[in-house]
Amino acid sequence: MTEKIGVYVCHCGTNIAGTVDVEAVSKWAGEKLAHQGVVVSRDYKFMCSSLGQELIQKDIKEFGLTRVVVGACSPHLHEATFRNACKEGGLNPYLCEMVSVREQVSWVHTDKEAATEKAKALIAGGVARVVHNEALEPLRVPIHADTLVVGGGIAGIQAALEIADAGFHVYLVEREPSIGGHMAQFDKTFPTLDCSACILTPKMVQAGSHPNITLLTWSEVTKVDGYVGNFVVSINKKARYIKTEDCTGCGICWEKCPWKVTDEVFEAGMAKRKAVYVPFPQAVPKYPVIDAVNCAYFLKGTCKACEKFCPTNAIDFEQKDETITVQVGNIILATGYDLFDAKRIPQYGYGRLENVYTNLEFERLCNAAGPTGGSIVLHDGKTAPKTVGIVHCVGSRDQNYNAYCSAICCMQSLKFAHLVHERTGAEVYNFYIDMRTPGKGYEEFYQRLLEEGTHFVRGKVAEVTDFARTPEEEGKLIIQVEDTLIGKQRRIPVDMVVLSAGLQPRHDAKEVGKMFGIACSSDGWYIERHPKLDPVATMTEGVFIAGCVQGPKDIPASVAQGAGAAARVLGKIQQKEIALEPVRASINEAQCSGCRICNGLCPFSAILFHEDKMVSEINPALCQGCGTCVAACPAGAISGTCFSNEQILSQIEGLLLLNLDVKEAAAA
């Protein structure tokens, strides 16, 4: 026997000793397991006390122990304690194994004899296993102090500002020409009805001018390498065709540009913009981009009006896309959401019937800077509606589309009802399934709407049509619905219909997530580490999420998550390095056949395949040690530390008391 093992069985006062004959167990282990290398076996009142720990340390020195087994409480409670004790005693901490004879034996069983026998088996399992434990060192990874924030909506802006204010550098990458995200498109925000621009613009400006923030708009991340503490990120800065050093944002170019295109992003298709444009007046940064896909010069080779008129010669048609590479320690993804495509529900008439709008279009209609200057009018551009129907849950809570609740539509629909009432005096009908107003001040807002005389019809709208059955319906849009509170089918003629389309994951969320090593739930939102206790972390160390990427939510919650993710990142930066448990899998290259069975199994993309050598390899910094690939490798080429085959198979033998004389063991 090469190993010298010490076994320690804890009384835990009477917690263990009350049900398990601790002395007998310890004595049994000393005798029956001696052939497996047990050289000393003791019992003690409180093993976790300093005296108990010293006992182990003394034995390590005296007996030259090479392995330690502690039969006590759950390892989740004191594994760290005893590993540390071993370390202090000069033994590698991973050569210590804990056996839970309190949570798994004394506390849950009553028959003393049976409990004692089970405790013996568990100790035998622990001893058999510890023989195969390896001396390990935790993986220490330094944390680079810079952070990448992807997505410049309110969540991303908040996160970037928190970190920058704390004195650390942030790269804020935004795909569009300006930061601001969806919030920049709104007129008012519920429930307080603050002007969206008024509260958002200062934050955007701050982010744009912060010395610790490198703002990269019109840019996208193309590649992420590395792991927590040391990510290497490639970012494609799309050609803007503007020399930003020279541009003053005077606006002459877009004034002179003759080429108009419908703005599908910021104006939600409700207005036109020029080929050279800033999405909105308060855009940050202030300089425009030339949309090459729609620019006359790029399409036809002539025009260059902007170039001619630019007072600072800032236009540069020769600019090319540029890839920059940055190094960061942590990443926050805040890429937000897309709006559900209301065309997918043909019976609501969107895209077919004039005067059926989506919620985002309606936001633009309300917005003082929007296409109608903030007046709510029909498609003809002048008539104010006399009746407006607002349809909740469009595409949400519906198994045909998105099964989840989009969380903001009720409140947003109430906001619209109020705006319509306030600005046009029109009769407003809200059609809802359930009214969900769970935020602070939200229910009060609902009460206010009730007082304003809004009609609330409880029922999911069946269809919207312009086929009039009666003269009163002529020329109107008719909303057909069951008023479930009355139990009657109703047809309500209105002038305008607003569809509160739900929130859904970005169309490219899956691919983007993959790049960062994080996964989407079946709904398509990124999966958080824990839905309640760790909503901004992900299963990939060093990658955090904030705002609507994690799931539908309103602005206050998005801001809170932005700040929360920032706090988590700052915590990591302050620690300077992190120690990762050395529970890792690795591949024996000679034995790997390159079958690629394991390649798709790792949720953290830790397994890479070398096409040249036709073998797979595991990146230890990405591996979280779940062991799935270890179990799956048909060639037995993958092994895992802390949970190796030898450890587990031996533990099975130990638990079944196999390498003992079975009868003798039972008699003892």
Binding site: S521, S522, V630
Partner: protein, 154 residues
Amino acid sequence: MNDKTFEPTIIGFTCNWCSYRAADTAGTARVKYAPNVRLIRLMCSGRLDPTFVFKAFAGGADGVMVTGCHPGDCHYVEQNYKALRRFILMKRVLVQMGIDPARLKLQWASAAEGVQLAAEINKFVEEVRALGPLHWNLDYQEAVSTPAMEEVTA
């Protein structure tokens, strides 16, 4: 064991994050259950290698219980589905080998479900008790004996 009721021996595999913690929870709450189950901690139910299960049966276990996080809650995102798939295929093999597939149980348990886990353990112990001893290894030793042709063709 002869005159007493048969006490099955059961090996359990638990994942570190949910079901092992469920066992802790049961302990902390002093929930009582049958002492027949001996648990082995894995990081994840995805670590479950069918070798472990066969080894346990071959080594004298009467039942094997595999536990993991509920589908969708896996600490490692979706490795418990891999355990599920292996479990289903293993059962098919056990049937062919003449081992009642009810001797292998898969149970999802969250860290909070100490009471439920205890109840499931009790249920499983009773089910295995009803099936009687498996004693795979012992019977195999006898089985290599060479019967006479007459015994065989009788």
